[in-house]
Amino acid sequence: MADMDVDIAIIGAGPAGMAAAVAAAATGARVAVLDEQDACGGQIYRAIQRATPERLRILGPDYAAGRALADRFAASGAQHITGAAVWQVTREHAVHYLRNGSVASLQARQVILCTGAMERPFPIPGWTLPGVLTAGAAQILLKSANVVPAEPVVLAGCGPLLYLLGWQYVRAGVPIRAIVDTTDGTDYQRALAHLGGALAGWRYLKKGLALMRALKRGGVPFYKGATALSVEGTDAVRALRFTSRGQPQRIETRAVLLHQGVVPNTQFSWALRAAHRWDDTQLCWQPVVDEWGMLDVPGILVAGDGRGIGGAVAAALQGELAGLAAAHNVGKLDGAQRDRMAAPLRTALRSHLSIRPFLDALYRPKPANRVPADDVVVCRCEEVTAGDIRSFVALGCSGPNQAKSFGRCGMGPCQGRQCGLTVTEIIADARGVPPQEVGYYRIRPPIKPVTLGELARES
């Protein structure tokens, strides 16, 4: 009853998805790539194909590097289904999606999930006010719409993406009111232990230092070791409050861009009931996969940030490995050939991932910004606070699913994307057990909303 049959279905046209498609299509496999957007690139390379020289200059060489991959993808022969909101991937490899107001489906023999990452939630007081966006959102506005803040903006949090955005803004002539960095001495201490790996990824380190220098040269006010962050305002942002070097600070602004790292987007892998493990280094859930990216669900692989944060280049390498594996699994590539092609990819992947322990240690998000005080909203959709969740635990709710049933936490339109990690950690903290034991929301379809009318019309 599917509208189309393919060998390999790839969900997501970011670096992992594009690389998987290129590798798989080259073996002669019939490949379809489904993505929500109207052009390839995912988030990191968003709008890459229509980027002007000026935009490439502002966004920098890492972004521009995506162009070559996008061109190879366009020439690969893989079918690119744009504007497709995938709402279910089944364990039997059926893919159901919504496109142009109609429900459609395809049947694949192998599925590669390349759904990438999303911003880690940043639950501080006032984070739901209009005018608070993520640094990633600001980058998307810049990349896809050429839109930037109209007045000096505050960037707050930690992590390479935050500084990268600041650097891009400096290059674009966008005034930055302040960068409020939560990184402090303990983070540097922790990161020192991983310096060996960092030196192995010296290219990244060099880039990071150059970036910081450029920011300082741009005259951007820097506040270090920031704690007690809160956004002030009633109907919209009015100011950011925080403490830095023991001094309480208040910076008036109407826009705050928050960021404390990205985390894997695991909606599909959870919905497939694949095994996941809590990774305490990256403080997130990661699907359990083999060396090709295969889940414990036969025929379904995960590549890219969706299986653990590694960045765009690592994502492309994992995508290529998964594409080769899937092509082999459908009989288009023999095992020896697959392994031969995989070897240099694995070497490169190891090299590109070598910086991760250092970055994960240096930019580990602060407990206070992950497990907030009672009055902070955790579930944005249903306005459930951290205190509410703790009260559920006191009533015997031992995991996120009971919290959901008890207080609607996680039952809103975002289906737990913005609150899930926070809820897991709050419950673990309240119960005094590790997050692995607490578990995560049961994720069910539709992964993206389908209307009654759309579903009714399909039957």
């Binding site: 009853m1 709402w87 279910q88 159901h96 429900v103 489906s105 009931r273 009533l395 015997g396 031992s398 995991g399 699913n401 009971q402 049933s405 008890f406 609607r408 039952m411 809103g412 339109p413 289906q415 049961r442 069910r444 379809p445 539709p446 909303p449 389908v450 209307t451 009654l452 009318g453 579903l455 009714a456 399909e458 039957s459």
Partner: protein
């Protein structure tokens, strides 16, 4: 509150769903030392994820006396458990869409009246439109039960669990009962956390109850199955009563927060071993069609989530409630075939009566555990009680 771990009790309840926790509460209030063993967390499966209908409408005749008695308890649930579990006395309406369907409903009401039941009443199109102004114009009439309603399943189980614990029951979650065996006049229940002993057993293990029935020597044809449900995004209030249809499966209610729960008897496979019901989203298209046929303006309403619980189905669609006929000291309460939620409060009372006095205050012969071994005539007679 007991400090011991309940390893030695008067009665062990296997299963922490609604019927298990209700039984635990009534037994504890009767003064027995109760231990409840739940494999996951109380309300994890069918009891926590069903449509929440508090419904006497449309019941199998044998269930009606129990359902009516249970409904009285729902209306005063806070007295019984300390929490009303979100019970809303919204009424239940079963609409007919054609004249033929209307005849079916009239016949049903007449049959009930002949048996002395008057809780289901016929209402005409005008009354339906007064009750549900937004309903499509082609509806021809309905059965209306004003005192029915709906409640929140997980909250209901939690209410009974907390009340049972307060009354002295010891409740162990993540403690799956694996094997039951007789030890002299007592029972032993083996779990990964150790062995529990009691004089009596209550088998309220839902989709897994057949395993224990088999272990004590009276296998029953209970099958795990799933029923698919959907919940939508919020929409402005447009319907108060719980709605059902006649010619097609539908169960439909709108909560105070504006979300709409849609069910409709759509079965799907459930894997008892994996403890999971797999939703076939495309088959839910039938539910979507029914909803949009009755409420055309809901076409643009988004579906937020679809799921299926793991439920226990009996071949005759009525539960097993009653004493074991094979082993002394065991009471069964399972197999509610996707309509056990409303019966939860009264079944716990019946179980306690059976355990403490050996007989029930309501007729339960139709639910006998050994009815599947009986000749047909005996079963038919039981249904008329």
């Amino acid at each position: 509150m007991k400090a011991d771990n309940g390893a030695d009790a008067d009665v062990i309840v296997i299963g922490g769903g609604l019927h298990g926790t209700s039984s635990a509460l009534h037994l504890a209030r009767a003064g027995l030392r109760v231990t409840l063993l739940e494999a996951d967390y109380c309300g994890r499966h069918a009891s926590g994820v069903n449509a929440g209908g508090v419904r006497t409408l449309g019941r199998h005749v044998a269930e009606i006396p129990l359902a009516l008695a249970s409904r009285n308890l729902w209306h005063r649930l806070a007295d019984l458990t300390g929490d009303d579990a979100g019970f809303v006395p919204s009424g239940q309406l079963k609409v007919a869409e054609t004249d033929a369907e209307l005849d079916v409903l009239r016949q049903r009401v007449a049959e009930l009246e002949a048996l002395g039941f008057t809780h289901e009443t016929m209402v005409d199109t005008q009354t339906v439109r007064e009750l549900v102004p937004a309903i499509a114009p082609h509806v021809t009439g309905a059965i209306w039960v004003r005192e029915d309603g709906h409640a929140l399943p997980y909250r209901a189980v939690t209410a009974f669990r907390l009340a049972a614990a307060k009354a002295g029951a010891v409740i162990h979650e993540t403690t799956p009962a694996q094997r039951v065996e007789q030890a002299g006049t007592r029972w032993k229940v083996h779990t990964p956390r150790g062995v529990f002993h009691a004089d009596r057993l209550v088998n309220a293990a839902g989709a897994w109850a057949g395993e224990f029935a088999a272990q004590i020597g009276e296998p029953v044809p209970v099958e795990a199955g799933g029923l698919m449900l959907m919940i939508t995004h919020r929409v402005a209030p447009f319907v108060k009563p719980v709605l059902g249809a006649t010619g097609r499966a539908l169960s439909f209610k709108q909560y105070a927060n504006g979300t709409v729960m849609i069910g409709g008897g759509l079965r799907c496979p459930a894997d008892a071993q994996a403890r999971h019901g797999e939703v076939d989203m495309l088959r839910l298209g039938t539910s979507a069609q029914t909803v949009t046929a009755l409420f055309p303006h809901l076409g643009p309403l988004g579906i937020n989530r679809a799921w299926a619980g793991v439920e226990a189905f009996m071949p005759d669609q009525i539960p097993v409630i009653g004493p074991s006929k094979a082993a002394p000291g065991v009471v069964h309460a399972f197999g509610f075939s996707a309509h056990g939620f409303e019966l939860g409060p009264i079944v716990g009372q019946i179980v306690a009566e059976l355990v403490t006095e050996g007989h029930a205050s309501l007729p339960i012969d139709a639910f006998a555990v050994d009815r599947f071994n009986q000749p047909r005539g005996a079963v038919a007679g039981a249904l008329r009680d």
